[in-house]
């Protein structure tokens, strides 16, 4: 494992398996009455969130606390520049306070890379602009493996605003790496023309893609994209690319329905579709904690040897 987690590109196939296996052993912790292990006792983890993201922050916070680490939440809305203090100065401050790991969420692509130049601790990318969201991809992989038991040859469609989706980037790289067949589906304005170079197929026809899927992964579509002319109206988007109840019927029975949240019910996903038994959206959230525990543990020097393993 690298010291940082900036992009899924840096994580090998073997590392992914190790992260998921370690998460497996941590998941049991969440079912205990006392949901805590001492693995990172005395270590300091900072959640540096420049973007509002309650669910990701809470997930990281819970993960760190269940490992007995000390957690500090540094949350600010807007950019660091608007706030007055630069990202660099904030980083140097956190460095001076002895942060062992910094979990950063930022609206600017590449910000975690900049952070690594100024701190000695581990940097975890919790979503940077429209670049990547590697921990989301890993928890999605965990959920897929849990439900379907494999990746090789799985047919996965990622549907929606791929162009602006950090989730789509990380998940595509991760799934391709694990041997799945990925198709990116959406209006042409929201699918990067160069996506085939990532190893994914591209389709503008959701109905053609659905009948052969093992996993149907729906992306959140921001309403402001309409104002930016990516599609003419939310209504038309929902009609052409939303996963309606009728479209669910076009998929094989066991096809998983996934969504990174938060959902726009009635837009990219039909109002009641998220409540179907094949929708595993809540399990994604639950698994997120275990996967983030695994990542913090492995990045912060949990050696993975028997003596210090979470089961010990």
């Amino acid at each position: 494992m690298n010291r940082h987690l900036l992009t899924i590109d840096d994580v090998t196939r073997e590392d992914i398996v190790r992260i998921l296996d370690t998460a497996e052993s941590f998941r049991e912790v969440g079912t205990r009455v006392i949901k805590k292990v001492p693995a990172l006792r005395g270590r300091t983890i900072v959640n540096l969130f420049y973007e509002n993201s309650t669910r990701t922050r809470i997930s990281f916070e819970l993960a760190a606390k269940r490992l007995s680490a000390d957690v500090i939440n540094f949350t600010t809305s807007g950019t660091s520049v608007a706030k007055g203090e630069s990202l660099k100065d904030t980083a140097l401050t956190l460095q001076a306070m002895g942060a062992d790991a910094i979990v950063i969420r930022h609206s600017s692509s590449g910000s975690p890379y900049a952070l690594t130049k100024w701190v000695t601790g581990s940097v975890l990318n919790a979503g940077d602009g429209t670049h990547e969201h590697p921990t989301q991809a890993l928890l999605d992989l965990y959920t897929i493996r849990e439900k379907l038991g494999r990746f090789e040859g799985l047919r996965v469609a990622i549907i929606g605003d791929v162009l602006h989706s950090r989730v789509a980037r990380s998940l595509t790289h991760a799934l391709v790496k694990m041997g799945a067949e990925v198709t990116l589906v959406g209006p042409p304005t929201l699918i990067p023309p160069d996506a085939p170079a990532w190893g994914a197929e591209v389709s503008y026809d959701i109905d053609g893609a659905l009948p052969k899927l093992d996993v149907c992964y729906i992306l959140r579509v921001q309403r402001e994209r309409q104002r930016q002319q990516y599609f003419p109206s939310v209504r038309e988007y929902a009609r052409l690319f939303g996963l309606s109840r009728e479209r669910v019927g076009m998929m094989p029975e066991g096809t998983l329905i996934m969504h990174p949240g938060p959902m726009n019910r009635g837009v990219e996903i039909g109002s009641d579709v998220a409540d179907l038994p094949q929708a595993v959206i809540e399990q994604q959230v639950t698994n997120g904690i275990a996967v983030r525990m695994s990542l913090l543990y492995l990045l912060l020097g949990g050696s993975g040897t028997e003596e210090t393993s979470p089961d010990a």
């Binding site: 910000s111 890379y113 602009g129 990532w198």
Partner: protein, 432 residues
Amino acid sequence: MHEPTLFEGARVVDPASGRDGVANVLVEDGVLTAVGEGVSAAGAAVFACDGLVLAPGLVDLHAHLREPGREDKETVESGSRAAALGGYTAIAAMANTDPVADNAAVIHEVRDLAAQAGLCDVFPVGAITKGLEGEFMAEMGEMAEAGVRLFSDDGHCVPRSRVLRMAMQYSRAFDVVIAEHCEDVGLSEGSQMHEGFHSYTLGLAGEPPEAEEIVVYRDLALAGLTGARLHLCHLSTAGSVELVRQAKAQGLRVTAEVTPHHLTLTDADLVSYDTNLKVKPPLRSADDRDALRTGLADGAIDVVATDHAPHAVEEKEAEFDQAPSGTIGLETALAVVLTELVEPGLLTLTRAIEAMSVAPARILGATDHGGSIEPGRPANLVVFDPHAEWLVEPPFASKSRNSAFLGRRLRGRVVHTMLRGSLVVSDGKAQR
């Protein structure tokens, strides 16, 4: 007056006269008095130049000196010193200062500051439109009377075709040059880099090459319509090179420039999110870079210009999408061209000197610069060691250090720069 200076045994490369061979060069009272084998002079300060190249002082058509307005980034003096150390004896200072150089008063101020510094001739560029706002023509006539030869709203394109058409037509009264920064801002809005595989993968908003080419085409059409002299700044795409090539074949009065960074770097270099590589126009694909190199070699592109754009450290040490665009370039341009183009055989040394001195001097109307190296001509010269290797790192003479080439080893180091007979750089050190 200075004592006579004799450069002994240099390889004299003078594209204007076609000379390329070892000779001695004698300078007296600011003027070249003898060039040839065996030239000597009693009492002259002698500089042994074995293995060194002596050429006409370099001329940069495109530098941002930031004064007046942003003296924390650069001043006319610090920029002139950076230029002299880079082998330049004349530079054009872009108009996007604060206040904007859209009137003769600012032109005079910049020129006076340059004269006080005495390191390099500075030719202020006049704005095409008032305040660079693209709406109303600036007083080009008054600035032309004050000696301005090049007009540009650089940093911006003149977006309204009618405004540009009028400026081009008007410019013909003074036979000055309209220099355009070609960018369709409606298409490039919000972009951070070249659009392509890398922008999609890095999650940075991309600018397609067409954002430049659409405006290049429009400007060439307007040059045809008006008969104006058009200069195209920092071209970055294969399509632009082809458009200029065609326009020249049709006889339009058009010239074009390319920067050292567009000739050498590509969008693939941005994978580390290094903000020093964030420039406008953006670093393009390898195919574009190769087309720029070909265009420079075959004359479709006339000039290598730096687009020297100093920015404060704290501005560049920011999130990628919040950092300003630009790289400094005056101190590295020659070495980049020598290392990346001349040494691998992509460009002859003569062609490099032509593009960095002769052609820009002609466009700028800088008649004292660009050669030839012959008796009677003003002694504006550079002497450099084409093989001396050095590491690009601070400190720079520039007040800023946002170089796209930081950390690179380059070959080619300026030894002496002579401005009208005075050694402003000697043994690689600025003399004032």
